[in-house]
Symmetry: C2
Subunit: 150 residues, 2 copies
DNA sequence: GGTCTATACTTGCAAATTGCAAGTAAATAT
DNA sequence: ATATTTACTTGCAATTTGCAAGTATAGACC
């Protein structure tokens, strides 16, 4: 059982990744997977800075800076200097960006609901509980083992 | 609860993705994330063709062809024309490639065991069962909903 | 057998993505 | 007042990407 651990996670993660990829056509825009993740994080975090989102997504900040620029250019994201510290740029979604993010979210949840629709109520609860448990423990374990993140 | 579904999956998937990224230094090689996935799939599938692995990973076949070439060049993968059909190339890991794949696998499983070490036996079983359940249902649901895969 | 289509893979671009090094500009330390 | 740190941006140069167009083999049809 132990030896299949990675495999089952790998499979799930890949499938979920495909889902993310497939949900990039939204609100009349055809954005990239990376852009979709950025919109998601800007929406989720409370007025994040460029650096915050870059770190969340594990992207190099110079790369991220340019990705933000392109999202600003197509009108989905806006950058505002923080009043308290004008080196910092606060990111937010434009109305159109919010629309796209919501549309993607809707698609994702539709699919997930569809997946859950074949489960019993007990099974659904178990799955949700299990993922929560995993998330909590993975967060805790960040520094355990040999974290090569540096 | 329903509206957090995507979020908890997204978090888990991202963390697992980071883990995959962090496990790319192995056996004296510093390979890319994509290369790591390719080694994994070649190892897992039984003498797959180029096309099979490309499809599994959702990569364009021309891109994949080149990725295989680079893995052959650094001596981790070998390509053999299939005896039955010489258009097809069968992929396999070289001894060194197998070593790298095993090393990566070991690192991944070490981390996962570490995550699981903070759980009770019941919790562990629940998590494994939940992921299996998800995988089974996601596979089933491939064509349900509106699959925009085309 | 000979031609025609289909399949498996490869190569030629040209565009997009990446990250390091080096920059700017603002905040903080001394 | 100057030096250092921080947040972000730009200049490259390398890598990765995918479409279009190629080669080579296999199978279909006559």
């Amino acid at each position: 059982m132990e030896q299949n651990l990675r495999e089952i996670f790998q499979m799930f993660s890949r499938r979920f990744g495909f889902l993310n990829k497939d949900c990039c056509q939204a609100g009349g825009h055809n954005i990239s997977l990376v852009q979709s993740h950025i919109l998601y994080e800007i929406d989720r975090q409370h007025h994040p800075s460029i650096q915050q989102v870059a770190e969340t997504l594990g992207t190099d900040i110079t790369t991220f800076s340019r990705q933000v620029q392109s999202l600003v250019k197509i009108g989905l994201v806006s950058k505002t200097p923080a009043p308290s510290d004008r080196r910092i740029f606060i990111l937010s979604l434009t109305a159109e960006g919010k629309e796209v993010a919501d549309d993607i979210d809707k698609q994702m949840n539709q699919f997930l609901e569809c997946v859950f629709s074949n489960m019993s109520q007990d099974e659904r609860e178990m799955v949700v509980q299990a993922i929560h448990l995993l998330n909590r423990n993975m967060e805790k374990t960040n520094k355990c083992c040999t974290t090569p993140i540096g």
